[in-house]
């Protein structure tokens, strides 16, 4: 099952021209700088933006050359950047708004389920949604969308209007979302850490066009894409939990051809985890250093070196067969070590962020 979207939309100073196909499962992230057209694409998919094109979601045709299914007949849920709760309705009435409007036979998600899952018990009897905190409002908005039992959940930067604390409050729900409810999600974001953490599939947009499409691990490891220039650019590695060290409070991960130590995590032995290694946290040595505080040193092979700004370079290295690391070092260091593609080196990893 997949989504096939073709849209052309001309606005003053902006042109969206998209022809993309992506899986109808897991979380697909529409990622790009502001003005890249990611929100516009999402609105086209929702039918909120009328423009010529075609859209097929699984086996349903939502738009083609001649017809366009109106938004309210598309089996989608939409979470806006601001929660956009109805101010004249209570929290319960907001949650039930969409629920009451779908045929009972199509109600796959029940109110109690959503309330329990999103922790809304304390909020549901509140009368004025304006009194809720930002994070609470967004949780109600997510619940409201889920209660329409959507085939596809569209989320337009649902975290960007929230403070760090509220973000941390919502993120676990988003991660659990597609695992527990098996609803595919299209997730618009301009924050690399969110995407690296959540996305199973990535659509990279620039100036109204999709410039790359694929697994986040592959895309974030490429040096020829705008994502490589972010301050928090970095590779995503998949690893297996092999050992817990209770004495030092550490966990050992096996990432193919190397061992990485991270702070103790709760995952059981053998489970797969996803970790993010920022390019700026990786340095390169020609020899395996033993007299260093850095404990994560992996044998690597340089695949590619690209200039980054005036004084830095980005280095892409392969670790074993499947994993990739990025490193951002100064141009001076590159020349001093005479680094070149194909060289065998040691990647010294200062910090690994588990997701």
């Amino acid at each position: 099952m997949s989504i096939r979207a073709r849209f052309r939309l001309q606005r003053a100073g902006f042109m969206l021209d998209v022809d993309a196909q992506f899986p109808l499962r897991g979380i697909t992230s529409l990622f790009g700088a502001s003005g890249s057209g990611k929100t516009t694409l999402l609105r086209c998919i929702a039918g909120l933006e009328r423009t010529p094109g075609s859209l097929q979601v699984g086996d349903e045709i939502w738009q083609n050359e001649t017809t366009s299914v109106p938004t309210h007949r598309r089996t989608l849920g939409y979470v806006f950047q601001e929660a956009s709760l109805f101010p004249h309705l209570s929290v319960r009435a907001n949650l039930e708004y969409g629920y009451r409007r779908i045929p009972p036979a199509e109600r796959k998600v029940r109110l109690e389920q959503v309330v329990a899952w999103l922790g809304l018990n304390q909020l549901i009897e509140r009368h004025d949604p304006a009194q809720l905190s930002g994070g609470e409002r967004q949780r109600v908005a997510i619940g409201r969308a889920l209660l329409t039992s959507p085939r596809l959940l569209l989320m337009d930067e649902p975290l960007s209007a929230l403070d760090t604390h509220s973000k941390q409050e919502i993120l676990p729900y988003l991660e659990a979302l597609h695992r527990e409810l098996e609803i595919p999600v299209l997730y618009v974001s301009h924050a690399l850490d969110e995407v690296a953490r959540l996305a199973d599939h990535l659509l990279l947009l620039q100036a109204g066009q999709v410039i790359a499409c694929g697994a986040p691990g592959e895309i974030l490891a490429r040096l020829d894409l705008p994502t490589a220039h972010f301050d928090d650019a970095g590779a995503v590695i998949e690893a297996t939990v092999v050992q817990h060290d209770e004495r030092y409070g550490l966990t050992q991960l096996d990432c193919g051809d190397g061992i990485v130590w991270v702070g103790r995590i709760g995952h059981p032995l053998g489970s797969r985890v996803r970790a993010r290694v920022l390019a700026r946290d990786v340095s390169i040595a020609l020899q395996h250093a033993h007299d260093t505080s850095i404990s994560n040193i992996l044998p690597a092979r340089i695949a590619e070196i690209c200039d980054e700004g005036a004084d830095k370079v980005n280095v892409r290295m392969t670790i074993g067969a499947s994993n990739v690391l990025l490193s951002r070092i100064t141009r001076r260091s590159r020349d001093r070590l005479d680094l070149r593609a194909g060289m065998a080196v040691y990647a010294q990893v200062k910090s690994v962020a588990l997701m």
Binding site: L48, H72, L76, F86, G98
Partner: protein, 225 residues
């Protein structure tokens, strides 16, 4: 109060209620269209709707009299199909009042509709609400202040009209003789006590009506910023 004054009061209330109802039905879609459209004609229509605010009521009343009379386009058409023309009738009065009070319904409603963000209707659409459903479940409730203002102003303004009534309706007891005409009659015939009673009553009633609306709107504002 004399019997004829009571009759005038009842006629006035009937006229105002009916005019408000007709304008609710006609003015709501018009205001919605004006609030949402990007059409070039909208400006012209808005200006036309606002005309009664600046025209002398007698001007509007005169044209309505001509149009509704036996030789006018509306009255003539009615006569030609065997019906009565509408000059000096209650129906004619309702038609004229509808035009005359239109800006008092349309403008507050248009402002209220314009104040309901597009995001609200979009959110409702993504929650499976069709266009009518969105209007009644989201737009109208969020426009309740404007709606209340529009209804009250329309009603109060129709109660207070004089020039149009005099031109179109004349002064037929039980049909077109409304309070403002009765006051005029009392004053003309030097019955100042009768005029005072009606005028004072009208003043007090109008003030209380507006007071209630503004107080309610102030309360809504607190609940819903």
């Amino acid at each position: 109060m004399s019997d004829s004054d009571w009759l005038a009061l009842i006629t006035t209330l009937k006229l105002s209620a009916l005019t408000t109802l007709v304008l609710l039905i006609l003015g709501t879609p018009l205001a919605w269209w004006l609030a949402r459209t990007r059409s070039r004609f909208a400006v012209a229509i808005e200006a036309a709707v606002a005309l009664p605010l600046v025209l002398p009521p007698t001007v509007l009343g005169f044209y309505m009299l001509v149009a509704l009379g036996p030789h006018g386009p509306v009255g003539g058409l009615l006569e030609s199909v065997g019906l009565q023309h509408l000059a000096f009738t209650f129906t004619g009065l309702v038609l004229a009042s509808t035009l005359y009070s239109m800006p008092f319904m349309v403008q507050p409603l248009k402002d209220a509709f314009g104040g309901v963000g597009q995001r609200m209707t979009e959110a409702a659409a993504t929650l499976r609400a069709g266009a009518w459903d969105r209007f009644f479940s989201v737009v109208l409730p969020l426009s309740r202040r404007g709606l209340l203002t529009a209804i009250t102003l329309t009603f109060a303004h129709t109660v207070g009209e004089f020039g149009v009534v005099l031109m179109v309706g004349g002064n037929i007891p039980g049909q077109t003789r409304v309070l403002s005409i009765a006051i005029y009659d009392h004053a003309e015939s030097m019955n100042y006590a009768g005029a005072h009673l009606l005028a004072g009553g009208l003043l007090a009633a109008s003030f209380l009506m507006l007071l209630a609306v503004y107080a309610l709107n102030r309360r809504y504002r607190v609940v819903h910023p």
